[in-house]
Symmetry: C2
Subunit: 392 residues, 2 copies
Amino acid sequence: MQNFVYYTPTKVVFGKNAEDETGALVRAQGGTKVLLHYGSGSVKRSGLLDKIIASLNSAGVAHVELGGVVPNPRLSKVYEGIALCKKEGVDFLLAVGGGSVIDSAKAIAYGLAYEGDVWDFYEGKAEPTACYPVGTVLTIAAAGSEMSNSSVITKEEGGLKRACNTDYARPRFAVMNPELTYTLPAYQTASGAADIMMHTMERYFTTEPDTQLTDALAEGLLRTVKDCALTLRDAPQDYAARANLMWASSVSHNGLTGCGTVGDWACHQLEHELGGMLDCAHGAGLAAVWPAWARYVLPTCPARFAQFAVNVMGVTPAETDTATAEKGIAAMEDFYHAIGMPATLRELGYELTDAQLDELTEKCTYFHTRTIGGFQILNEKDIRAIYAMARG
Amino acid sequence: MQNFVYYTPTKVVFGKNAEDETGALVRAQGGTKVLLHYGSGSVKRSGLLDKIIASLNSAGVAHVELGGVVPNPRLSKVYEGIALCKKEGVDFLLAVGGGSVIDSAKAIAYGLAYEGDVWDFYEGKAEPTACYPVGTVLTIAAAGSEMSNSSVITKEEGGLKRACNTDYARPRFAVMNPELTYTLPAYQTASGAADIMMHTMERYFTTEPDTQLTDALAEGLLRTVKDCALTLRDAPQDYAARANLMWASSVSHNGLTGCGTVGDWACHQLEHELGGMLDCAHGAGLAAVWPAWARYVLPTCPARFAQFAVNVMGVTPAETDTATAEKGIAAMEDFYHAIGMPATLRELGYELTDAQLDELTEKCTYFHTRTIGGFQILNEKDIRAIYAMARG
């Protein structure tokens, strides 16, 4: 087991009508004027924004609005938010939405505490040393950004999708009412489930031994998400499944399921370039590359994949770890298909050319300057091979 | 699933040589002069205190010392600490030890931020509204106080053991080096494991439905602690088992394994009076009352005990939930015996008289003013019956 630091200061307020607490939560953090940041108009049409504004008003918190955040949130919107917040004297960022909105709010929060160009942090040209406070009202179980230290932003010029991860950006609070996710399209729910599972799988696939507690927590979470996703396919308004899935989204990405492991994150790196190029749903993109990644790296540690197969996918052990592992990967593909997720890029809806694979590979290596992966270190050749396997 | 709030702001620094971070961690919290609070001289003899003092010195943090905290920590020591800290201008409480030392530090921290008598908070006469900051260097995996909101103090006069639970007292950081627990006596290690399991079992035994994720995390934790305790019986310097047990101590009592459940806590209430009267090890006292409690309340929800039997104790299901549940309770007794823990008060080492059972019962009801339990509400008659069953 590796040494580790675990830090999850976000206060989670979970359950029915939790959004009524928003104003008091902002106030408790010292916020006096918030940026209400959101995506499409669905939070307006559903009446959620009105409920939140009422809660802010009753707590004496002023607000300005900025909607229009899109999936794979754009740097241009971040710049717009920074300018608006400076002009309006905003002192607290309130993200109402999912991972894209939260990540955009975090980027604005970084930018407000920095003299330079906020993209510096995402390019690795500078390190954040401060951040304005962020709070969230979650409307989709997926990204885990409501408790995570992560923000991922896409720069339109060049289609570059890059992450900035620091504890400064961990939200002060996360308001989670599972009922707010009842009306999500089935594809978004399933894509969210794939994303949630991957946040733990990225941590779980490790060659580090002796992480029994972390393994047990990770495997329990993965089984639960799998069950919830299957339930919601048939019963989208099942409160228990919505609630367990939503809580899993946070637990899966707040660090708990990686304590003492090394972490891989290759699939996230592979998918980031897909998102940047194709603008696909993040979870669906992850599902489309995972089986190829898994088969490519399996020989590094078949025992770990066999453990996954048995303890998560419920596979009966075969004669060898490798055979058990392969059954587990196939079971995962079956699960993806069962919830309407792709298991290849073709199933994701794209017939990629060789030139496109080359472009994805080049970007994924940050233009020939890095390798990816922790379970197995992947160089440019490996990355190209996995993209090719994932083509389907 | 019940609505819930989850809040665990404690920064965990975990692993080999973690104690070298102590000075920097205090400094990051704004501490300039700490009370080094500890128990017996073992932390001095082992050289741990010297390492911590070196770390404080190199971070420019001054300190004063107060040792002598005993198991079931005493109110008189808390008063002594408050007076010393006021005199010395201490602004940060650093607990070096286990639950008793941490709970004592929390009580001092409450007292420093309060004009009145700190016992008011433990008696329920007043509610804390502030607390000095507390940090910990953990030396035993057991109480979970390093991340919990709880402090339990015993008032010598009357042998009253009472708790005060507020988020103000959650430690700012917890330094956890599993190697520091290598030299613990086997009985203390086993008692710690029993305590860790009970912190999750108190939350797990609930009649609240639909807590699948919390159940999966709780069951995974309980299985892990069971395995580690058995390993450590034979190999007390097994790093993996020490590390997993130590991390489990925190996760088991930071709230995670109770999200959405109701929580019972009857066994803790039953044991608090044993600790107050007999000064027994807390975990051993819990083990001594659990089987009696379990058999007494089983009829309220046999299905829950059957789930515990199968998913935690690895029992093969019997024909009825009740039969499966009884096998699970028996398996837990066997486990207690396997690690040298008692399953009755007689095995704990006490032949209690009827008059003593009456006294325990009276104190446990706070002198006829309360019931206990959430899984099944227990009145005075129930409490007396469980103590009698536990006598063995």
